[in-house]
Amino acid sequence: MAARIALLKYLRVEARPAQLRNPRLIGGSFSQLFKRQFSEEVRGSFLDKDEVRDRVINCVKNFQKVDPAKVVPNAHFQNDLGLDSLDTVEIVMALEEEFGFEIPDNEADKINSINLAVDFIASHPQAK
């Protein structure tokens, strides 16, 4: 509710002048303007899942121990990629560095496949 009011206030005051002054925005769709400004104003937006998946896959592929050819969306860290607990912990750290937020230890246990990592990150508002 508060977000809606804030948004309306914002739109009423700034959106029209911004559209006139900034030629870039005139061409862009209204939903793009809405999305971009909204995520700056209100922290806690969620990342797009496909984008998260690409970034997670890239992150895991960069891990030296891993055969990049095996890094597919449904790859299981232990069974498919041959990672043990120390490796998994390192992957979690690499994901934390990539997405800029800390994954609690009691959740880290459950992230043992690419898909699970993607689901967790995409549903976490702090992920950048």
Partner: protein, 320 residues
């Protein structure tokens, strides 16, 4: 019927090195309450398709499926050897005549820790046998105790990590442990100390049986010291073998951490192995008896060798 015949023919025609000379499992008495048994196998020393096929035969259908779903030869082999090791090891203890490596059934505790699912035998109480496995691609180990939960972790000594060990320690270890690591200036020694702490912490979590999230590494501290409580790290301790390893909880839980004892070994010159069990304080009027350890190197159905007291097993820290 046809399958059995085919197998019989294969026996006669194939290389007899492994089949006809394969030894039955050496029966072993159960460990006493003060004893821990550790069995290990080196995957690179296990060769021969017929032997690996024999191992596959003792697995349950579910285990077979799991092993076959692993992608990569090393992974597949160490997964097969892990199941083979646990089945053959437990079967050695001759709990009753109906138990064979293949007949054993397993289940998970409510917290997900694997345990034996003893079947209803005639007049047999399920034995209080506990086990825990750990495997790397180069060594698979299985620890066995009676009356005490056990956790085992093995890691390659020279194992590389992507992050700086202090970064890992800052994120996952507690402050006192980080301080100990920080104080070590030699990067090689620092790396070794990190690996030792890691295996000990893993062994503790596995002994508890609640998984990594059930006992996050930051919530407990592994401490090396003599009985008078002097903290030091292993490289500075001159009498490392006499040095004790203990665990302290850093939160307000009611777990009795003084009940846990540890042992840290170097196995086959190449691996660290940490074992965590509960102390046996029964008998002898509360006097704590140090953990006695016996270690065997095995290639199931081929050879077993007791290696305690040899070069293959170097006790780095903890009870003798």
């Amino acid at each position: 019927m046809r399958r059995g015949f085919y197998r019989m023919r294969l026996n006669c025609c194939s290389d007899n090195k492994f089949f006809s000379s394969s030894t039955p499992l050496t029966p072993i008495p159960l460990p006493s309450p003060k004893e821990t048994h550790l069995w290990y196998v080196i995957p690179s020393e296990v060769k021969g398709e017929s032997l690996l096929n024999k191992y596959m035969e003792i697995l349950s259908p579910c285990e077979k499926e799991n092993v076959l779903s692993m992608r990569g030869d090393e992974l597949w082999k160490s997964a097969l050897l892990a199941r083979t090791l646990v089945r053959t090891t437990i079967a050695r203890y001759q709990i009753n005549s109906s138990i064979s490596p293949r007949s054993l059934k397993f289940r998970k505790s409510i917290h997900g820790k694997p345990e034996v699912d003893w079947q209803q035998g005639d007049h047999c109480e399920p034995p209080p046998l506990h086990f825990n496995i750990s495997h790397t691609s180069s060594l698979v180990a299985c620890g066995v105790t009676v009356n005490s939960p056990i956790g085992v972790d093995v890691e390659t000594k020279q194992r590389t990590v992507k992050h700086n060990v202090l970064t890992l320690a800052r994120r996952y270890f507690c402050d006192p442990e980080l301080e100990v690591l920080n104080a070590i200036k030699d990067p090689y020694l620092q790396h070794q100390e990190f690996m030792k702490l890691w295996t000990l912490k893993e062994a503790y979590v596995k002994a508890l049986g609640r998984g990594f999230s059930g006992a996050p590494f930051k919530t407990f501290r592994i401490r090396f010291g003599s009985a008078i409580g002097v903290s030091s790290h292993l490289s500075r301790t001159s009498s490392a073998e006499a040095s004790e390893i203990s665990v302290d909880l850093l939160d307000d839980s009611s777990d009795l951490t003084c009940n846990w004892q540890f042992m840290l070994l170097e196995l086959a010159g190449s691996h660290y192995a940490a074992i965590c069990t509960e102390k046996d304080v029964t008998n002898e009027g509360n006097r704590e008896v140090p953990m006695k350890l016996r270690v065997w190197k095995t290639i199931p159905f081929v050879e077993d060798r007791c290696v305690s007291g040899t070069e293959a097993v170097r006790i780095l820290c903890g009870s003798r």
